[in-house]
């Protein structure tokens, strides 16, 4: 049972080993304006597509509900 934890510990140890990539301008640019621009655009490109797809899903759901309700109102009641 204890051996099961070894690979997990190895993975965590390996993750802690590498030093930060200093070439990454998002993390280590000394200019605040540039760093802020990277953070802003990263957020934009992450959340914008999710918002679009989510918005379309909500809109389609509302449309389907509306059409369903209209269909039920149009259907004549059963007789006998």
């Amino acid at each position: 049972m204890k051996r099961r934890w070894i690979p997990i510990l190895v993975v965590f140890a390996l993750a802690a080993l590498p030093k930060a990539a200093f070439a990454c301008s998002v993390c280590f640019d000394p200019r605040d304006k540039n760093r802020a621009a990277f953070v802003l655009t990263t957020m934009l490109l992450t959340f914008f597509p999710l918002g679009m797809v989510g918005g379309m899903g909500v809109w389609l759901r509302k449309r389907f509900h509306k059409v369903e309700q209209e269909g039920e109102e149009e259907t004549p009641p059963r007789v006998g």
């Binding site: 304006k33 621009a37 802003l40 490109l45 679009m52 389609l60 449309r63 059409v67 149009e74």
Partner: protein
């Protein structure tokens, strides 16, 4: 001969009673296309923001490059925004009768043509002032972003012209009109973002 033979006729299955599409297929397809294009613009504008923020000496526009004419472009922006309002009027009129939608749709097309023509004139003026694709990253991004928008504006304008010709022939359907409208609204919505980020930055 005919007594033993059976004829098989294939007829489309009738739609169930009360069945109605929630959203036309064309509109869904256009929305998906528009989402992809929105990401294209988001990517280009993001790249522009990052390059601008990293500009040498925080000088923007770069030395020797002309300033973009944001005062004149405000007129152009207004024309485009008004075209969207007039297109809404055309849609409302179309619901009542096809004839009533003709004039608002024609006005939308004329406003769209004015926008594209005005942009062309602006480009000629900027090229004369020395802002080219190769002159700086400023020029490269300007022509790339605004040019991509212009391509979309021309394509959407083509769609509106097609809708108008179909309207004159009384062949324009509600779903086809809605599909063309989605594209034009996309062109209109993207422009203020470009104006704020590229022209007013």
């Amino acid at each position: 001969m005919s007594s033993g033979s059976a004829t098989l006729t294939l007829e489309p299955r009738p739609a169930p009673r009360g069945h109605r599409k929630a959203v036309p297929d064309g509109v869904v397809a256009m929305l998906l296309f528009v989402f992809a294009e929105a990401m294209l613009f988001a990517g280009m504008i993001s790249a522009f923001i990052v390059v601008r923020s990293a500009a040498a000496g925080q000088m923007w526009p770069p030395y020797g490059q002309p300033r973009l004419p944001f005062e004149r472009t405000a007129i152009n922006t207004s024309a485009l925004l008004v075209s969207a309002v007039v297109l809404i009027v055309a849609q409302l009129a179309f619901r009542r009768s096809h004839e009533r939608a003709r004039i608002p749709l024609l006005i939308t097309i004329l406003l769209g043509a004015f926008f594209v023509g005005f942009q062309g004139m602006e480009w000629v003026a900027l090229l004369r002032q020395g802002l080219t694709l190769q002159s700086s990253s400023y020029g490269s991004f300007f022509y790339l972003i605004v040019g991509t928008h212009a391509v979309h504006a021309v394509a959407a304008l083509g769609g509106l012209v097609w809708a108008w010709t179909q309207l004159l022939r009384r062949r324009l359907t509600q779903s086809a009109f809605a599909t063309v409208q989605v594209f034009w609204y996309f062109v209109v919505i993207v422009w203020p973002v470009i104006y704020l980020k590229v022209y007013l930055s």
